[in-house]
C-alpha cells in the first residue's frame, strides 16, 4: 500500500492540478509578464553597464538597483532558473492537459450517434423549433445540401459538420509537445560553432560555442572547408547589398567534394552540418612599400566604443621602424585612411592604387576580408518542423465550428434543434435559413416574391 502512495498522489493530486485550465491561464500570463522584463531591461550587457544605469541610490522604482537586478538575473531573464522553471511547469501543464483532456476528447469519435427521441429534449437548445407538415425526408435532403453528414434512425435524425474543429485543438496541443521535444532533443544532440576565417584560408570546425552532451557524432571530423573568397556587394549609394562567401568542402585528402557560394538566407549544408553567413571582418591588407615585394599586414579591430567598426594596421616607412603610418579601413569598399604618428589624417588610398606618404610610395594591392560563419547541427529540426507543420494545421482546423442538428418526427410535428461550439452568429443564421426553407417547402406553391428574403 505504501508503494502505491506516490502513484496515487500523482494521479489524484498532481495531475488534476497540472491539467487545471486556470493554472494554464495563469502560466500563460505569467510567462508573458516575465518576458516583458527582458524587453525593457537591456540583456547581456557587461556589469559596468548596469552599475552605471541602475544606481543603488536612487534605485529605480525605489528597489531596482543593479545589485537587485543581477541577483534576480534580470540581465539575462530568459536563462534564469526561475524563467526556465516556469517554462518547465508550462511544459508539464501542457503535457498533462494533452493527455488528460485533449486525448480524452477523442472518445467523442467512438461514441454512437446520439439521437433525441423525446420532444422535451429539444427544449434545452437555444435554437429549436417545431414545425407542422414537414417530413424528416425534407430535413435530410436540405441538410445534405448544406454539407451536413446526416444519420437517421427511424423517426430520429442527427446531422453534423465541421468535425475538424473538434480535432484541431488536440492537434495543436500534441504538436506543441512535439516542438518542445524537438527543442530538447536538439539541445542534447546539436552543436553550434563560430568561425572567423580570412579569404583563402582552410579551416576545420573547432571553435564550438555550444554543444549538447550527445553532440559528438554530429561534429565533422573527416572534412574541412576552404574559403575561396569572401566579398561584399555594395549598392551605388555605398550601402551593403549582400555578403558572399565562396566555400569549398574538402575531404581528408584535400580534394574538393562540394563548392557553393553562400550568402545571408542561403547557407551551405554538408553532412548534417549547416554553415551560415553570419559576420565579417577585415583580416589583412596587402601592400607594397616602394619596390618591396607584396607584404600582408594583419589588421586588428579598433575599439570605437560601439560607434561603428574600424580596423587598423601600422606600416613602417623607415627601415629602422622609427617612423610609420597607420592604415585604417572601415569596410571592403577599398578606401583606406592614412594617419601619421601624431594621429593626423594625411591621405587616403584606394586598393589597387598608390599614394606618396612620408617620402615613400605606398601601393595597396588588396584589402583581405574574413568571413564570419555560424556552423550548426541540430538533429531536433525534423521533429520541430513536423511540430510546426502540425501546429499550423491544428490552429487552422481549430477555426472551424462544429455544428450539430437533431430532428424528431412525432405524428405531424417535426422538432428540430441544433447548436454549434464556436460560430454562434453564423449558425443562428443558418438555422433560421433551414427553418425558412422547410416552411416554404410545405406551403406550395410558393410565390416568387416570398422566396426572396
Amino acid at each position: 500500500m505504501r508503494a502505491l502512495l506516490p502513484q496515487r498522489f500523482f494521479k489524484q493530486e498532481l495531475l488534476p492540478l497540472l491539467a487545471d485550465l486556470r493554472l494554464a491561464i495563469v502560466l500563460l500570463l505569467a510567462i508573458a509578464l516575465f518576458s516583458i522584463s527582458g524587453t525593457v531591461i537591456e540583456q547581456g550587457q557587461p556589469l559596468a553597464f548596469y552599475q552605471a544605469n541602475y544606481p543603488e541610490d536612487p534605485a529605480l522604482f525605489g528597489f531596482l538597483s543593479w545589485k537587485v537586478l543581477i541577483t534576480l538575473g534580470l540581465n539575462h531573464v530568459y536563462r534564469t532558473w526561475w524563467f526556465l522553471a516556469l517554462l518547465i511547469l508550462f511544459g508539464a501543464s501542457l503535457t498533462a492537459c494533452t493527455f488528460t483532456r485533449q486525448l480524452i476528447a477523442l472518445r467523442w469519435f467512438s461514441r454512437t450517434w446520439n439521437f433525441y427521441g423525446q420532444p422535451r429534449q429539444f427544449q434545452k437548445f437555444a435554437l429549436s423549433a417545431e414545425l407542422d407538415h414537414v417530413s424528416l425526408e425534407q430535413v435530410l435532403l436540405l441538410l445534405e445540401k448544406k454539407r451536413y453528414r446526416v444519420f437517421q434512425r427511424q423517426e430520429m435524425l442527427y446531422a453534423h459538420k465541421g468535425i475538424v474543429g473538434r480535432v484541431g485543438p488536440i492537434v495543436v496541443h500534441a504538436s506543441m509537445l512535439l516542438i518542445l521535444l524537438g527543442a530538447i532533443w536538439g539541445s542534447l544532440t546539436g552543436f553550434m560553432a563560430q568561425e572567423l576565417v580570412p579569404s583563402g584560408a582552410t579551416f576545420k570546425i573547432a571553435n564550438i560555442v555550444e554543444a549538447g552532451p550527445w553532440a559528438g557524432p554530429q561534429l565533422p571530423r573527416d572534412w574541412s572547408v576552404r574559403v575561396n573568397r569572401f566579398w561584399i556587394d555594395y549598392t551605388p549609394a555605398g550601402v551593403i547589398d549582400q555578403f558572399y562567401s565562396d566555400l569549398s568542402v574538402l575531404d581528408q585528402g584535400g580534394e574538393e567534394i562540394d563548392r557553393q557560394t553562400i550568402h545571408v538566407n542561403q547557407p551551405l549544408r554538408h553532412g548534417g552540418v549547416t554553415l551560415y553567413q553570419a559576420d565579417w571582418a577585415i583580416a589583412a591588407v596587402r601592400v607594397r612599400v616602394n619596390n618591396s615585394p607584396t607584404l600582408e599586414l594583419a589588421m586588428a579591430p579598433l575599439n570605437t566604443e560601439g560607434k561603428g567598426r574600424l580596423w587598423g594596421t601600422w606600416v613602417p616607412t623607415k627601415p629602422d621602424l622609427s617612423d610609420g603610418i597607420s592604415l585604417i579601413a572601415k569596410d571592403l569598399q577599398g578606401t583606406l585612411l592614412i594617419y601619421d604618428t601624431s594621429g593626423k589624417l594625411v591621405s587616403t588610398v584606394r586598393s589597387g592604387m598608390a599614394t606618396k606618404v612620408n617620402g615613400v610610395t605606398l601601393a595597396v594591392v588588396e584589402v583581405v576580408g574574413s568571413t564570419g560563419l555560424q556552423v550548426k547541427a541540430d538533429p531536433g529540426i525534423p521533429i520541430t518542423y513536423t511540430g510546426y507543420g502540425l501546429l499550423m494545421l491544428g490552429v487552422v482546423m481549430s477555426y472551424v465550428s462544429h455544428s450539430q442538428l437533431w430532428a424528431l418526427q412525432q405524428n405531424d410535428t417535426l422538432y428540430i434543434g441544433g447548436r454549434t461550439n464556436r460560430a454562434q452568429v453564423a449558425f443562428e443564421r443558418e438555422f433560421l435559413e433551414v427553418l425558412d426553407q422547410l416552411s416554404q417547402q410545405k406551403e406550395e406553391p410558393v410565390p416568387p416574391v416570398l422566396v426572396e428574403s
Partner: protein, 333 residues
C-alpha cells in the same frame, strides 16, 4: 503616370475617405434609422481599402519588392488589413456597430502615416541583406494580417464591454461548446418582446418562418428559436475574428522561426520583437482558454482581449519606440 505622385495622392485620399467614413459610421450607430447611411459607410470603407491596395501596389512597382520594409508601408498595410477584416466582421455579424470601432482605428493609422511620419521615413529604402528573401513576404504579411485581425477582434471585445457594462453575462462560443443552450430566464423576461420581435421579423421575412406564423400561445407555447442579443453577437464576432487572427499569428511566428533558422541557424533569439510577438500569442491563448474555463467566463475574457489590443500595439510599434531598434534580425550587420 508618375508613381510617386500617385502614391501621395492615394495616401492623402485614403486618409480623407476614412475620416468621412468614420463620421458616417458613428452616424449609423447614433441614428440607425437614417436610410442608406450604412451603405454609404460600407462604400467609404471599400474605397479606402482599394486606395490603400493601390498605394501598396504602386510601392511594389516602384521599389521592386514587397512593400513591407519600413514603418510607413507597414502602417498602410495594417490599415488595409483592418479595413479588410472589417468587411469580414461586418459580413459575419450584419451589425452596423463594427464600422464604428474599426473606422476610427484605420483612420488614426493612416493619419499617423501620412501626417506625422517624417518624409524621410515615408520614402522606400533598399532592403538590408538579412531581409532579402522570399520569406519576408510570407512572414511579414501574415504577421500584419494577424495584427489587423487581432486588433479588430479586440476592438469588438471593447465594444462588447461597453454594451454590457454593469451586467452579468454568460459567453456562448468556445472550443468545447458550452454555448447553444437555452437560458431559462429568457421566456419569462421576454414574453412580450418575443411577440414584438415576431411581428417585426414577420415583416422582413414575409411570414415565411413557420414558428413565427403561429399566434403566441400563452400556455402551451411552441418551441421557437431564442435569438442572440446584440451583446452575444458582438462577443461572438469578436471571438471569431480573434479566432481568425490567432492562427495567422501562429503561422506568422512559425514562418519567422523557420526563416531565422534557415537563414542564420537560430530559430528563436529572444529579440524584443520576437518576445512581444510571443507575449501577444500568450495573451490571446489565455483569452481562448479563459472562454472555456468555468468561473472565467462573462466579461473577463473580453477584458483580456482588451489588454490584447494594447499588447498588439506594443508588439507592432512600441518595441521600436522603446529604443530597442527595429526588428532587424541581422543583429551583426
Amino acid at each position: 503616370m508618375n508613381l510617386v505622385t500617385l502614391q501621395n495622392w492615394l495616401d492623402n485620399y485614403s486618409f480623407a475617405v476614412l475620416f468621412i467614413t468614420m463620421l458616417v459610421y458613428w452616424g449609423v450607430a447614433a441614428f440607425p434609422r437614417i436610410p442608406y447611411l450604412w451603405a454609404l459607410g460600407t462604400t467609404g470603407m471599400a474605397i479606402a481599402n482599394l486606395c490603400m491596395a493601390g498605394l501598396l501596389a504602386a510601392r511594389w512597382l516602384e521599389a521592386g519588392y514587397f512593400p513591407l520594409s519600413n514603418l510607413y508601408e507597414s502602417l498602410f498595410f495594417l490599415a488595409w488589413g483592418i479595413t479588410t477584416v472589417h468587411f469580414v466582421g461586418e459580413n459575419m455579424s450584419r451589425s452596423r456597430l463594427v464600422g464604428a470601432v474599426t473606422a476610427p482605428v484605420a483612420m488614426g493609422i493612416t493619419a499617423f502615416a501620412t501626417l506625422t511620419l517624417p518624409s524621410g521615413m515615408q520614402a522606400s529604402a533598399p532592403l538590408v541583406p538579412a531581409l532579402k528573401s522570399n520569406w519576408l513576404m510570407m512572414h511579414v504579411s501574415v504577421m500584419m494580417l494577424s495584427y489587423s485581425a487581432l486588433m479588430v477582434g479586440s476592438l469588438l471585445a471593447i465594444a462588447f464591454l461597453v454594451v454590457t457594462r454593469g451586467q452579468n453575462v454568460e459567453l456562448k462560443g468556445n472550443s468545447i461548446g458550452t454555448g447553444g443552450y437555452r437560458e431559462h430566464s429568457y421566456r419569462l423576461n421576454r414574453r412580450s418582446e418575443l411577440a414584438l420581435e415576431t411581428a417585426s421579423t414577420q415583416q422582413i421575412h414575409n411570414g415565411s418562418t413557420a414558428v413565427l406564423e403561429r399566434p403566441p400561445q400563452p400556455l402551451a407555447e411552441p418551441l421557437s428559436p431564442q435569438r442572440l442579443s446584440l451583446a452575444d453577437t458582438l462577443d461572438n464576432i469578436s471571438y471569431r475574428i480573434i479566432g481568425l487572427g490567432f492562427p495567422l499569428l501562429t503561422i506568422g511566428i512559425i514562418a519567422g522561426a523557420v526563416w531565422a533558422n534557415e537563414a542564420w541557424g537560430a530559430p528563436w533569439s529572444w529579440d524584443p520583437k520576437e518576445t512581444w510577438a510571443l507575449i501577444t500569442w500568450l495573451v490571446f491563448a489565455a483569452y481562448l482558454h479563459a472562454r472555456i474555463t468555468r468561473g472565467w467566463q462573462g466579461r473577463r475574457p473580453a477584458i483580456l482581449a482588451t489588454a490584447g489590443f494594447f499588447v498588439v500595439w506594443v508588439c507592432y510599434l512600441g518595441v521600436n519606440i522603446l529604443g530597442k531598434g527595429l526588428h532587424s534580425y541581422g543583429w551583426f550587420f
